[in-house]
């Protein structure tokens, strides 16, 4: 467990015990992980880091409304099929070897099998590609909540048995090792129970002050410790306010980079006001916070 955490840290991803446990269990039980949590807490990042850590290729499937099997699992290379039929038209006579009559021709054709619906003409999409990776891989199904209900059902076979069924060919199973699957969701809608049942469920909340400081340290190592403390404390104060969109870790990191760029030594109200648009993404929020800036800043400065 500690080794796992240390490994994550080596890849600049500071994780809590809960996250490490999730990866550990997922690895040993070969179960997908469904990650939920507010935006910007590093859900997608976790999958990417895991891929880097296990030295496996990362295959990513971004979900959106209207995503269907032809984009997620496979599609036939229609162009190639068409082209080949055109080319092969000439040789059709040879193939038929002067067969007389309809029945005989069809019978002869049958002998060739369904070459046009074989793997050569199959365009693998992310899910199929993931299954075909020889050494296993990390499959990231991002923002699963954006997809339709139908697509969720499509995923079920993949998630429980690591296989997909293609009517013309049969069932494709994972080659040697099943891929590690990460699903992320922003909770814009409830994920169906059937899907949840097949996954480990990991909820990543906003980190506490200490953890966030370590994250900033890992991501923006150049920032001086005192400023780091101040800015993390400031962000935590903000999260307690009633905002439309509270700043996430990614915003904290952006802010840290911004402050670094401005050669800041310590927070002051004017500076905060000028850079507020890095952490707050709604004009309403910025206006609401504006009045509080001085109080929060002085509170943070005092420590």
């Amino acid at each position: 467990m500690d080794a796992l955490k240390a490994n994550f840290e080596k890849h600049n991803y500071i994780c809590s015990d809960q996250i490490a446990t999730a990866v550990y269990l997922s690895f040993h039980l070969s179960k997908p992980i469904l990650i939920e949590g507010p935006p910007g807490v590093g859900k997608t990042e976790l999958a990417k880091t895991a891929a880097a850590m296990f030295e496996l290729p990362l295959i990513r499937l971004q979900c959106y409304e209207g995503l269907d099997e032809s984009k997620a699992i496979y599609e036939w290379k229609y162009g190639k099929q068409l082209l080949y039929t055109q080319v092969l038209k000439e040789t059709l006579d040879e193939v038929l070897q002067g067969a007389k009559g309809f029945t005989e021709s069809v019978r002869r054709l049958h002998e060739f099998g369904d070459i046009f619906f074989s793997e050569e003409f199959l365009e693998p999409r992310p899910l199929l590609k993931a299954l075909k990776e020889p050494n296993g891989c990390v499959l990231l199904i991002d923002e699963v909540d954006k997809s339709d209900h139908e697509f969720e059902s499509l995923l079920l076979e993949m998630l429980s048995d690591y296989q997909v069924s293609i009517p013309e060919i049969g069932t494709v199973k994972a080659k040697t090792k099943p891929p590690m699957v990460f699903l992320t969701s922003n909770n814009t809608r409830e994920i169906s129970d059937a899907l949840k049942r097949r996954c480990l469920h990991l909820y990543i909340p906003f980190p506490d002050v200490e953890l966030e400081q370590r994250i900033i340290h890992a991501r923006v190592p150049e920032i001086p410790p005192e400023l780091r403390r101040q800015l993390v404390a400031f962000i935590h104060e903000l999260r307690d306010l009633d905002l439309k969109k509270v700043p996430a870790i990614s915003e904290t990191i952006d802010w840290a980079r911004t402050l670094l760029l401005l050669h800041t030594e310590s927070l002051d109200p004017q500076l905060v006001r000028d850079t507020l648009n890095v952490i707050l993404k709604f004009q309403d929020d910025i206006e609401n916070v504006d009045a509080e800036i001085s109080t929060i800043t002085s509170k943070v400065l005092k420590g």
């Binding site: 269990l25 039980l29 992980i33 209900h149 409830e190 049942r197 480990l200």
Partner: protein, 496 residues
């Protein structure tokens, strides 16, 4: 140990965490992998496998802490026990006079070594201590009964295993009400061999030999400690298993009871029930088809799909067009008599946001006003109480309310609109203005009148249901959560 996990899952289910058989199997696999040794690790692991939403995770946390408390307490106790044993030895070393001191410390062992242990234990101990003679230090006789032997060996693990086994034997999980706690404690003790032990204790007390009598004292001390333990155990079982059974009973009752009779303290529970009902309805109705066979041709997709037919386009694909969502207007009478019903209906409608088309709500007692915005800006409970506060005063005037509705938004009612009116139609003998209702009826897709009063009093006194009734597509009696659920369920079928 498998049994422990199975029972834990049962306890979780009792606290409304939905766990399927597949997930149970996963839990077993996970436990096999991580083992029981590291409690925090076990908790983290199980919390990944069993609970699947944020709320469930919270429930899980409390449940886990409660359920797997025993191991922890046992550890503490052991430590405490070691300490008190040292105390005993010291007492013995100092000679007979200190026997009582050792005694007091011995009593502490049931209480994790808390300093206030003696006081907390209550008076019966004082009495017993008085009776107890001062025997001084020295060798103890061998205990004879099996339980006595166990107690004297001080093997906590063995004891706790026996306790659980005895608990199983007397079906402690079926405990229903808290008054049964004493009964179950007694039964478990008996199952573990209390009678033999008691006999031995009384035998030992009457015996001549000092070591025998000393054993008697010691055994009794340990028996009392065990009783505490068993009581704790029963208490925990009660919290885990019976609490929710009682809750379920109460919930069943609340579903059927008339909404106006619900006491204020049950509101929270009701709200939970409403949310749960709403969630069920939502999942039932969210599976509607998304692609509509109309709208613009999706050219690229059509071409792609028809390549397999040699480019002959005969399987057409359309751009999925979402027709703009139908609307629901909820008009609620919030005057005193009906306010509670309005509260729960609004609660229901807004809990269904996910599948329900846009709801606009209006409240009136005499003047009508739109409260949609209140609900958009505030949390549900706040919005409801604000609505009730602002509009509930004044005597009911349906005519005026209809007039107001006509003036403000009758022109926004179209043939995709469903109007729900909740009210008892008691108009204080004012002008009913049913012709406005007719206008609404003509324009909208469906007009539903929900009346919280029983059907036979609809036309009694100043009630105007006879005048309004003909201009409604549907008139329903609605005064319990069950009614509400059915009506909202039907509504979803109609509007979507």
């Amino acid at each position: 140990m498998d049994r422990t996990l199975a029972n834990f899952i049962r306890a979780l289910r009792n606290s409304d965490v939905r766990i399927s058989t597949a997930e149970t199997l996963d839990a077993f696999n996970a436990v096999e992998l991580v083992g029981y040794r590291d409690r925090a690790f076990l908790k983290r692991s199980l919390s990944l496998v069993l609970p699947k939403t944020e709320q469930e995770k919270e429930t899980f946390d409390t449940c886990f802490d409660q359920y797997f408390k025993f191991t922890d307490v046992k550890g503490e106790r052991k430590a405490a026990n070691d300490e008190s044993e040292e105390g005993d030895e010291q007492g013995e070393g100092q000679g007979g006079g200190d026997g009582q001191g050792g005694e007091a410390q011995g009593n502490n062992r049931g209480q994790s070594g808390a300093p206030s242990g003696k006081k907390g234990k209550g008076s019966n101990y004082l009495i017993e201590e008085e009776v107890e003679e001062d025997l001084g230090p020295g060798a103890l006789a061998e205990a004879q009964s099996p339980l006595g032997q166990l107690l004297m060996q001080n093997s906590k693990v063995e004891l706790s295993v026996q306790m659980s086994a005895a608990g199983e034997a007397v079906d402690v999980r079926d405990i229903q009400v808290f008054t049964q706690k004493g009964l179950f404690t007694r039964r478990i003790m008996e199952e573990m061999g209390l009678n033999d032990l008691n006999r031995e204790i009384s035998d030992a007390r009457e015996a001549r030999a000092i070591p025998q009598r000393r054993l008697g004292q010691e055994l009794r001390r340990r028996r009392d400690w065990l009783r505490e333990q068993v009581r704790d155990y029963v208490e925990r079982q009660f919290l885990l298993h019976a609490d929710s059974t009682g809750k379920r009973l109460r919930e069943d009752l609340l579903r059927k009871v008339k909404l106006s009779n619900i006491e204020h303290r049950s509101f929270r529970l009701i709200q939970e029930i409403v949310f749960r009902m709403a969630k069920r309805l939502a999942s039932l109705h969210s599976r509607r088809k998304k692609v509509f066979k109309r709208g613009a041709l999706n050219i690229s997709r059509t071409l792609r799909h028809n390549m397999s037919y040699d480019g002959v386009i005969f399987d057409l694909h359309w751009k999925s067009v979402k027709i703009d969502r139908p609307k629901v207007f909820a008009i609620c009478d919030v005057s005193g008599s009906v306010a509670n019903y309005a509260r729960f209906m609004l609660m229901f409608l807004y809990s269904l946001e996910e599948v329900m088309p846009k709801v606009r709500s209006f409240a009136f007692s005499s003047d009508l006003a739109e409260v949609t915005e209140l609900f958009e800006r505030n949390k549900l409970e706040d919005a409801i109480s604000k609505t009730l506060r602002d509009y509930a005063g004044g005597s009911t005037d349906y005519g005026q309310a209809l007039e107001d509705f006509k003036r403000t938004c009758l022109d926004q009612v179209d043939n995709r609109t469903t109007i729900i009116i909740l009210g008892d139609a008691r108009n204080n003998y004012g002008d009913a203005k049913q012709e406005i209702l007719k206008e609404m009826y003509d324009r909208c897709k469906r007009l539903i009148w929900l009346n919280p009063e029983p059907r036979n009093s609809w036309n009694v006194g100043d009630a105007e249901m006879r005048k309004y009734g003909p201009y409604c597509h549907q008139v329903d009696e609605c005064n319990s959560l069950m009614h509400l659920e059915r009506i909202v369920g039907n509504l979803l079928r109609v509007v979507n």
